[in-house]
């Protein structure tokens, strides 16, 4: 049973063939670094997203390896080249069986 959280992706609904368009993807996650301590001095264990991948009709367009140095509620703004109409898939995986997948369609004219 995997844990998941909210994710919001922003990209245009349509694009012209060959056009390079920007994509925003933000996910709700505390990114507990593993370097924080409670007041009693007990270390709070690491719990972060490790990888984010964006594929466009199954082909990788952007990938990121995340380490504890990435801020809470990780945001990525990146680009993709409009090729065929289809689906962009956004996948976040991380510690403690974390998995979130979001899909969004795009029409290429």
């Amino acid at each position: 049973m995997s844990r998941s959280s909210r994710a919001v992706v922003t990209l245009p609904k349509t694009a012209k063939r060959g056009e390079v368009f920007s994509i925003r993807a933000i996910v709700q996650h505390e990114m507990e670094s593993g370097f924080r301590h409670t007041e009693q001095g007990v270390r709070v264990p690491r719990d972060i997203i490790r990888e984010f991948v964006c594929t466009y009709n199954g082909k990788e367009v952007f990938k990121a390896d995340l380490h504890p140095g990435v801020g809470s509620n990780p945001l990525f703004i990146f680009y993709a080249k409009a090729d065929q109409s289809g689906t962009l898939e956004f996948k976040w995986t991380g510690d403690n069986d974390y998995l979130t997948i979001v899909k969004q369609a795009i029409t290429v004219l």
Binding site: R6, I26, G71, N73, L75
Partner: protein, 253 residues
């Protein structure tokens, strides 16, 4: 005779701005970097959006003994809650309540459920959702004369020295606003953006959390969450900031 009338008018104008000089009031938004300002303005970059979405889910949640959700009494949150957070704290059924207090009153009396704890996810989600509906509107602090005594008490607390450092709110936020404390510019402390996503907290938090933060900053014993003292200070701050634009949910460093 005419000169007397003009003097009287001038006198009236000078005394009608009781707090800071006519309008030298500035939100802490102005002190932030352009990047952080953009993070606040653009909801697709503002992490508080997740709390708003959680709030939207709670707004329609009927999973409680009354089987009633907020939506059953208040319908569309965008309509019913527009301008609402701008008027709190106010007197509700004889008691001084801030927004969180009002949410909990509905929760306990209408939904027959235990009150949400301060800084709990559900309470932050609902207060962020409701406060967001007042974004862009001016603060319209309650002018109810029945809470004037609370306002005076809040004012007294604001000007009262406290803690091991023996400082009052006014000494930093009135007298020294714009000067620096340990590398940070001291803001005027207007509650225009609450609940805020504070970068230091990596979380959304209430005005009461921030007030308690200040109190621990001067090494004073903090008033408990939901206490009448904190509500009185909130009321003082809201009347002091009356008319300023609401930015909720704001980003703060």
């Amino acid at each position: 005779m005419r000169l007397l009338g003009q003097c009287a008018l001038l006198g009236l104008l000078l005394t009608s701005t009781p707090f800071l000089q006519a309008d030298s009031r500035v939100s802490a938004y102005a002190l932030m970097s352009p990047t952080n300002q953009a993070m606040q303005n653009d909801m697709s970059l503002n992490p508080a959006m997740f709390w708003i979405m959680d709030g939207e889910a709670l707004w329609i949640d009927r999973n409680n003994p009354s089987s009633k959700a907020c939506v059953d009494c208040h319908s569309d949150v965008k309509q019913s809650m527009k301008g609402v957070s701008a008027t709190f704290p106010k007197r509700v059924q004889g008691k001084l309540l801030n927004l969180e207090g009002q949410i909990n009153q509905c929760r306990t009396t209408r939904q027959q459920s235990p009150a949400f704890a301060y800084e709990s996810k559900p309470l932050l989600a609902l207060s962020t959702l409701i406060a967001y509906q007042s974004r862009g509107l001016p603060i319209a602090a309650s002018k109810d004369s029945a809470i004037d005594a609370d306002f005076q008490k809040g004012k007294t607390l604001y000007f009262q020295r406290m803690g091991q450092l023996n400082l009052s709110c006014a000494q930093c936020h009135d007298d020294r606003a714009g000067l620096k404390l340990a590398g940070s510019v001291i803001p005027q402390a207007h509650p225009t953006g609450y609940p805020i996503y504070r970068l230091e907290w990596q979380n959304v938090g209430s005005l009461q959390r921030r007030l308690r933060n200040c109190m621990s900053g001067v090494r004073a014993e903090q008033y408990p969450y939901g206490s009448v003292e904190l509500a009185q200070i909130e009321l003082y701050l809201m009347r002091r900031a009356n008319g300023m634009r609401i930015e909720s949910p704001a980003i703060r460093p």
